[in-house]
C-alpha cells in the first residue's frame, strides 16, 4: 500500500511538470500550422496570424508564393522540407524583423531581373537572424543579407544553373554586414559562391563552393574576417580577396581551378593577412598576388599547380615560411627583379642540393624563380617550350649566376624532406 508521502511526492512532481510545460509554451509562443487543409493556407497568412515569438510550422507541400514578408520575430519552420515555388516572379522571402529564424525549406524558381537583385531570401537591416537547412534551386540570388548584423547562415544547399555572368546572381551575398557566421553551406553553379562587400568580422567555415561561374568566394572591402576549413573546387576563377585588411585564411582547400584566367587564390590589395595550412592543388595559378603587403604564408601545400605563386608587383614584406612546394611547373614567378619578400625553410621538390651535415636543411640555397618563368611572363607564347632541353640549360646557367631574376630571392634554408603539417 502506498503511503501518504509517496503520493504527495508524485503529485508534486506532476504539478511541477505541468507548470514547466506551461512556462515553456508561454515563452515559445503559440504554433501556427500552415497546410492546404489548415486554418492558414499560405505561408503569408500564417505569418499574418502570428505575433512575436510564435512558430509558424509549414507542413509538407508546394506553396506558390512570392514576396513573403516576415515582419515579426518568429520561427518559420518547414516540416519535411516543404517547397516554396516562386514561379520566376521575383523575390520570395523578405525578412524585415529582428530575430527571425527560417529553417527547413526548399525554395525554387526565383525570378531573374536585370534591374533588381531578386533573392530567394533577403534580410534587410535587421539583426539576430538564423537561416538554416534550406535548399535553394533555380535561383538568381540565393541568400542576400543587407546591412544586417549578428546572424547565422548554416547548412544550406544552393544549386544554381548559371550560364552567363551578366544574368546570374550570387549564392550567399553579404553587403554591409558585421559579425555573421556562414558555416556548412554547399554552393554550386552560381556566379559567386559567397560574396562579401563592406562586411567585417565575418566567420566563414566548413563550406563547399564549387563549379561556380566566377569566384568560389569573393571579398571586397571587408576587413577582419576569417575563413577556414572551406573547399573551393573547379570555380571559374577560384577565390578572390580584394581590397581588404586583416583577413585570416586557414585550413582551406583550393583545387582544380583551371582555365585561361583561373587561380586558386587571387590577392589584390590585401594587407596584413595570414594564409596558413591551406592546400592548393592542381590550379593553373595557386596564388596570384598583386599589391599585397605584410602577408604571412606558412604551412601551406602547393601541389601540382601550373604556377604555385605568381607575384605581380608592388608586393612588399611578405614572408613565405615552411611551405611545401610539390611538383609545380613553376614554383614562384616574378615580373621584376626587385624582391622584398622573404622565403625561408620551405620544402621545394625541385631542389637538387645536398645536405652534408645531415641537419635536414640543404647546404646550397635554393632559387625558386627560374629564368624561364620570367621569359614566360614577358612573352606568354614561349610556354610551348616548357621542359625543353634548351630551357633547362638556360635555367641552369641563370641559377649559377642570376642576371634577370631577383638576386636576393633565395631560400637560404631549404628543407630536404617535405614538412609534415598537422592537419586536423
Amino acid at each position: 500500500m502506498p503511503n501518504f508521502e509517496t503520493i504527495l511526492k508524485k503529485t508534486l512532481h506532476i504539478f511541477t511538470l505541468v507548470i514547466l510545460l506551461f512556462a515553456t509554451a508561454a515563452a515559445m509562443g503559440k504554433t501556427i500550422n500552415v497546410c492546404s487543409t489548415c486554418e492558414a493556407k499560405t505561408i503569408q497568412e500564417g505569418i499574418n496570424q502570428a505575433s512575436d515569438g510564435d512558430t509558424v510550422l509549414v507542413k509538407k507541400g508546394i506553396y506558390k508564393e512570392v514576396n513573403i514578408i516576415v515582419d515579426k520575430s518568429i520561427i518559420l519552420l518547414g516540416e519535411n522540407l516543404p517547397t516554396i515555388d516562386g514561379e520566376d516572379k521575383g523575390e520570395i522571402i523578405k525578412i524585415v524583423a529582428d530575430n527571425v529564424t527560417v529553417d527547413g525549406f526548399k525554395i525554387i524558381n526565383v525570378g531573374t531581373s536585370y534591374t533588381s537583385d531578386y533573392a530567394a531570401i533577403r534580410v534587410i537591416k535587421k539583426n539576430g537572424y538564423l537561416i538554416q537547412n534550406l535548399q535553394l534551386e533555380k535561383l538568381f540570388f540565393g541568400i542576400y543579407l543587407e546591412r544586417s548584423d549578428n546572424g547565422k547562415v548554416l547548412n544550406n544547399t544552393i544549386k544554381g544553373d548559371a550560364i552567363n555572368e551578366y544574368n546570374s546572381g550570387n549564392g550567399i551575398q553579404l553587403w554591409y554586414c558585421n559579425d555573421v557566421e556562414v558555416r556548412g553551406n554547399d554552393v554550386q553553379n552560381v556566379r559567386d559562391g559567397i560574396y562579401l562587400e563592406f562586411s567585417d568580422n565575418i566567420r566563414i567555415s566548413h563550406n563547399l563552393s564549387r563549379n561556380n561561374l566566377r569566384y568560389g568566394l569573393h571579398f571586397m572591402f571587408s576587413n577582419n574576417d576569417i575563413y577556414e576549413y572551406n573547399t573551393f573546387e573547379n570555380n571559374g576563377a577560384g577565390v578572390a580577396v580584394m581590397f581588404s585588411k586583416f583577413i585570416e585564411m586557414k585550413n582551406n582547400v583550393f583545387k582544380e581551378n583551371w582555365g585561361t584566367a583561373a587561380f586558386g587564390l587571387l590577392l589584390k590589395e590585401i594587407n596584413d593577412a595570414t594564409i596558413s595550412n591551406n592546400v592548393f592543388k592542381e590550379n593553373t595559378v595557386g596564388i596570384n598576388l598583386e599589391g599585397s603587403n605584410r602577408v604571412t604564408y606558412h604551412n601551406n601545400d602547393f601541389i601540382s599547380n601550373g604556377w604555385a605563386i605568381k607575384v605581380r608587383g608592388a608586393c612588399y614584406a611578405n614572408s613565405f615560411k615552411e611551405n611545401n612546394f610539390l611538383y609545380n611547373s613553376f614554383d614562384i614567378s616574378y615580373n621584376s627583379n626587385i624582391n622584398d619578400n622573404e622565403f625561408d625553410n620551405n620544402y621545394w621538390s625541385n631542389y637538387t642540393g645536398y645536405d652534408l651535415n645531415k641537419d635536414g636543411i640543404g647546404d646550397v640555397p635554393y632559387r625558386p624563380v627560374k629564368l624561364f618563368s620570367y621569359i614566360v611572363n614577358r612573352t606568354p607564347e614561349t610556354i610551348i617550350l616548357l621542359r625543353s632541353l634548351f630551357i633547362d640549360i638556360i635555367d641552369f646557367s641563370e641559377k649559377v649566376s642570376p642576371v634577370f631574376t631577383p638576386d636576393n630571392l633565395v631560400d637560404e634554408n631549404p628543407k630536404m624532406k617535405p614538412i609534415k603539417h598537422d592537419r586536423s
Partner: protein, 260 residues
Amino acid sequence: MLKILKYSFYDLMRSRWSYVYFLFYLLLGVVLLFLNNDLSKAVITLMNVIIILVPLIGTIFGVMYYYNSREFTELLLAQPVKRSSIFLGQYFGVATSLAMSLVIGLGLPFVFYGIFNSNAIWDFTLLLVTGGFLTFIFTALAFVIALSNENKIKGFGYAILLWLFMAVIYDGIFLMSLLYFEDYPLDKFSLIATMLNPVDLSRVLILLKLDISALLGYTGAVFQKFFGTSFGLLLSFAMLIVWVVVPTFFIWRIAKRKDF
C-alpha cells in the same frame, strides 16, 4: 627487302648493344617506378629521357650500324638484290629492333607495376608511341647522313650536329624569334614551328597530357584547343609520319644511285 630486314633484325637482336639498350630502359623503368612510387612523376621523368635520349641513340646507332656493316653490304651488293631494298631493309631492321628494345624495356616494369589498372595508361601509351616514332625518324635521318658521307668521322659529326640542332639549337632559335617578335600575334607561328620539329612536337604532345594546368593558362588555351582536339592530334601524328616517310624516301633515292 624483307629477308634483309629479317637478317638485320636478328643480327641486332643477337648483338650486345641491343641488350645494353634494352637493359638500360629496363633498369630505368624499374628504378623510376620502385624508388619513386609515383606513377605520374615517373612518366614526366620518362618524357625527359625519351625526347632527349631516344633521338640521340637512334642517330648514333643508325650511323654506327651503317658504317659497321659496310663490308657485309658490299658482299650483298654482289648478289642479284635491289640496292634500295638492301638499305631499306637494314634501316627497318635497326629501327624496329631499337623501337622494340624501348617498348619492351620500358613496358615490362610498368606492366608489373600495374599500369593496366591505372589511369596513366594513356599517357604511357602516348609516351611509347612517340618514343617509337622518334626512333624511326632519327634512325632514318642517320641513314641518310651515313649514305651521303663516305667519311666516317664526317658522318658521325653531322649526325651529332643534327641531334644537337633538333634537341637544343632549334628551341634556342625558336625562343629568340618569339622574343624578338613578341609584339606580333605568335600563336600560329609557334604552332607551326612546333610542328616542324619532331622533338618539339613529341614534347608538346606529351606535355599537354601532363602539365595541363600550366599550359592551360593564358595562351596555353590556344595550344590546348589545337592539340586537344582529335583534328590536332591527327595532324600531329600525320606530321610524325611525314617525318618518317620523307627521310625513308631519301634513303631509297640515294640508295638507288649508291655506289662503292
